[in-house]
Symmetry: C2
Subunit: 401 residues, 2 copies
Amino acid sequence: MKVIKGSVTAPKSFAAAGVHSGIKKKRKDLALIFSKVPAVAAAVFTTNKVKAAPVLVDKQIIKKGGPVQAVVANSGSANACTGRQGIKDAVETMKFTAALLGIPQDNVFVASTGKIGMPLPLDRIKYGVKLAASIMNESYASGTDAATAIMTTDLARKEIAVETTVSGKKIRIGGIVKGSGMIHPGMATMLCFITSDAVIERRALSSALKQSVGSSFNMITVDGDRSTNDTVLVLANGRAGNKKITSGSPGYGTFCQALEYVCLRLAKAIVKDGEGATKFIEIKIKGAASLSDAKKTAFSIATSCLFKTAMYGSDPNWGRIVSAVGNAPVSMDPEKLKVYINGILVVKNNAPVPGSREKARELLTGKNAVIEVDMQTGKSGCVIWTSDLSTRYVRINAAYN
Amino acid sequence: MKVIKGSVTAPKSFAAAGVHSGIKKKRKDLALIFSKVPAVAAAVFTTNKVKAAPVLVDKQIIKKGGPVQAVVANSGSANACTGRQGIKDAVETMKFTAALLGIPQDNVFVASTGKIGMPLPLDRIKYGVKLAASIMNESYASGTDAATAIMTTDLARKEIAVETTVSGKKIRIGGIVKGSGMIHPGMATMLCFITSDAVIERRALSSALKQSVGSSFNMITVDGDRSTNDTVLVLANGRAGNKKITSGSPGYGTFCQALEYVCLRLAKAIVKDGEGATKFIEIKIKGAASLSDAKKTAFSIATSCLFKTAMYGSDPNWGRIVSAVGNAPVSMDPEKLKVYINGILVVKNNAPVPGSREKARELLTGKNAVIEVDMQTGKSGCVIWTSDLSTRYVRINAAYN
């Protein structure tokens, strides 16, 4: 497997465009992704019980088994908490796009991100879809523009593509993502769109996606919340001509590996672009009694405001790590706990390791931090990623309107 | 019941002093509270699995049934994550104080707050205990000094006393507390010491304390964590001469009401003095399916960084409230949800109420905010209190060392 240029249009027979429809004042705000043939689709959605209108209609599409041929995603309005009008607007977007592209209405997947409670400006959406459809086959249209058009408070565009081989055929997977928190301000959402030209059975695609999301997007946190709009969609249009991948076939592992790589790179890109983030933090748990315990412990550290502010201050404050571990709803023995900061053992036998704090402080001045916790009570572990909590995070989220 | 002057020395036969022992550079750092006779004692401790040494030894005292006659509390060092040495130091403090005051070792309750992982400077503790004991009966010694000596990042001293009548006798309850977060930096802790001259059975005192803490200290959050040292202690020395209060006696309700009032006032004082706090926020949940659901929903809002930063920005960002409600692990129906900000209905039928945002924004410019959520799925509710998340909170906790 190798990383290649581009993103959602790297796989065969996908087109994409990102345009300015007028929802935002100046910046691109509408993305269209189109597969020349109907594509097998799988998706995962937010677990928040308050779900945005596009999530509700998309769940129906995926439940019915797809296929999906077009994705319309706008930024600037989340179409969340918009009542019945929100559902109508999402359906109208599907209807309009389907008619324009000559495909069935159910093959259009819609997504929104931006302000909660603001009605979708349907005229601008339609204008944007028309404009995007008219240029998506031109050489200047690109997945990069689509990646730009879904950005909200993101500072960096996030895209990737990889190539691997299944049954002697080259297959590609490309993806774009937006989100600099699992949840945003009035601004909801993480959105991720992944395309592939692989020939793959729907159920295999669905299980590959669940597995990949489990070890990537579900292993990151910026501010600990899930939004009303979070969506990860993967489309596979079968144009690579490989032998069909099923969950039992030899190509399945290869495909999963590539998909997981794409998800992981995009997930880490979100953390690096976390609102106000100055540090990229990896939290490794080992010696936990179960995977579930390991995850709870890792997230207890990653969501602790005190841990995150210490990281912002480049302070090897292991007391806050130990306290966060003790607060996780899992069984643990403080006497057995070992904590490493950037490789330096700072706590063992429930007491500090002499001289370790100074060493750890030196190593914490950079942009990366690795926190390792060995619970010594079992054999399970996990790795998650998070960012620090800075004064800029507070300013971004206090000033937003 | 009426509020009176003073705090832990307002009830009969209690003395207290706060002195500078030298743990901190300049400020008072050691408090001594003494009852002229052994007092019935009840206490609640942190649920964090990593417990500081003083918490471990105090739990034994309370388990054995008390009594307690002296409390030694220091700030500057939490005596947490200090291994076996920490336990030895806590026990040595008890031993030294007991010998000095001529009371049994088990009647000395110890508490620490400050840096985690720093050994207790025993010489300074002993010097401080000696100094405090030598002055505690002087007219210039006071509960106010004790309240000052336990402060860490607290900006305000927090104390209160009340007087009520049980079986024709005046009884008093006084309390001091420290803590500007449920957990602090390397700085651990919330500590609360309450005294009373009531005659009360130990089991009744214990159940009164549990009930009072449940509706006060357990209903506040600044940054969502529990520290390694959190302790609430109540002592009753029986000097008021009332008819003994038992859980069935007529005076029990009166005592509970007064104790709950003291706890609630001190709990709210902690939130008002929350690190970096600019707003005092009350969150009321009603219409929940159970009390447990109501609490989970309230704390999901109160611990959301996005909600707290919006409050800091005086932004009536109800989208963040609705999203936090949807993230709570309880059953809810977005269609039924009603949200009020300072009395203004801002969301119903899963959509914003036109014009409400502007009205709510005007009312949010002050120092107080009341968020009311009606889930309309049941008959339970609760009220909790929290503060906002400001750039100053981040600076305090990033710069701390």
